[in-house]
Amino acid sequence: MSLIHVDKNSASQARTTKACHLMPCEIDYNGPAKVADYFDTSVRHDQGTVLSATFRGRPLSGKEMQLPDGYTGLLLKELHRPYSEEEERHLKVSHKFEQFTYWNLDAEPSINDKIHKALEWTHIAKTLHSPIESQENSNVSEPDK
């Protein structure tokens, strides 16, 4: 396992993008793509907040999602791929995002979707890891006095 550096300066310089899509498929490609021409033109606003689109002829249903408070999404780029496992790696932040659109394959978005459930963890983590409030502390220690 190698050390990974994320360039902090790049994070402050990176632009915030609204065009971030979480697709329900693995696309074996990294690099620029004609998203505006081919994908954005297929996006339609159905009833309510539900969106629909098409990718490779398949029907998608989607929804916009905000990241939880205090979180920022980062899109990382690696300029040089490491030659070996041991080599230190350097990543740059190319874009930041506060919201994204997630897409299901032929299924209406719901609170049972994995991405919804995954983000629940941020609330639980906050509760679990915040310090216990002093009032409760004093209640516990009272009888000893």
Binding site: C25, E26, I27, Y29, Y38, S42, F55, R56, L105
Partner: protein
């Protein structure tokens, strides 16, 4: 034919038609249904219907309708003008099924095949004619799939109608010929006036049939490695699919290996029961690290220390 509704949004289906002739509300009518553009890998498929009083059958024959495929484009356009100018006795309606709708339907999680899609479209047109108040008594349909099965299906849905499903109905019944002309004219116009949302301009895409060299060239030249094809192409056609497998980047979907896995599972099940001795084997004791709670598994959350 005014297809402006479809031209402004060619991702979705669109229905265009005449007003219902007054006489078609009073007198018993016959109705014909035919489709155009079923085979091509490009553009929409169009369903057409025409209806007119049974008492005027002979008049319709004299109008010179024939199978739209034996007529040339000009003859079809002329005959369609005739249909449009016969609004007192002849009603018509077409539904344009966009290639995007065809792709999306056929590539859903639970596949919706082209025959079922065609049947449903025909059923929809009959229903619409009835809803508008046309006094339909006889229905003639050019078959898709097995005529007997298709006829039984339609009879089940419309028990009060006299339904005939036949091969080459468009060359036997003038009302079906008229319907086929409406469908073909609409298909030709929709293809001719196609605007590519993807910001490309195409000089020549041929007839749209997979065997046409010009169509093949278009499919190869305009293949985008990530997105595949513009919406004009029916992704569900094997011609399109094979080209993507060969020339585009691979895309894996979560339901891709469903069939594969089911096969494997079936094979495993049929391979017989486990050996009895496996029940007496001691559990492996190597892995003593505590397991993560299933809460994290269900949410695909993992600790990451490296990418």
């Amino acid at each position: 034919m005014d297809l402006s509704a479809f031209e402004t949004d060619n991702s979705c289906n669109c229905i265009v038609g005449s007003d219902i002739p007054e006489i078609a509300k009073r007198e018993p009518c016959w109705l014909g249904i035919d489709e155009a553009g079923r085979g091509p890998v490009l553009g929409p498929m169009v369903y057409g219907t025409c209806y007119s009083p049974i008492s005027l059958k002979d008049q319709l024959k004299e109008m010179g309708f024939a199978d739209s495929k034996v007529l040339n484009e000009e003859q079809r356009e002329k005959l369609f003008e005739k249909i449009k100018n016969s609004t007192e006795v002849l009603g018509w309606m077409i539904e344009v099924l966009s290639p995007n709708f065809i792709s999306n339907s056929m590539l859903r999680r639970s596949k919706y095949n082209l025959n079922a899609l065609s049947h449903d479209c025909a059923i929809g047109l009959i229903k619409k004619a009835l809803d508008k108040g046309a006094n339909i008594k006889e229905v003639y349909v050019d078959t898709v799939g097995d005529p007997a099965k298709y006829q039984a299906k339609l009879k089940g849905i419309f028990p009060d109608l006299d339904i005939t499903v036949a091969k080459k109905a468009d060359s036997i019944y003038p009302i079906v010929s008229a319907a086929s002309i409406c469908a073909k004219v609409a298909r030709d116009n929709a293809v001719k006036n196609w605007t590519f949302k993807e910001g490309i301009t195409v000089e020549n895409f041929g007839s749209g049939y997979p065997g046409d060299p010009a169509t093949k060239k278009f499919l190869t030249d305009y293949l985008d490695p990530v997105f595949g094809f513009p919406q004009f192409v029916r992704f569900s056609w094997s011609t399109a699919d094979l080209l993507l497998q060969k020339n585009a980047v691979s895309v894996k979907w979560e339901d891709d290996d469903d069939d594969d896995q089911n096969d494997k599972k079936r094979k495993k099940d049929s391979a017989g029961t486990h050996s009895l001795f496996t029940f007496y084997k001691s559990e492996e004791t190597g892995n003593k690290r505590s397991k993560k709670h299933s809460f994290f598994d269900e949410r695909c959350l993992k600790n990451m220390t490296h990418f």
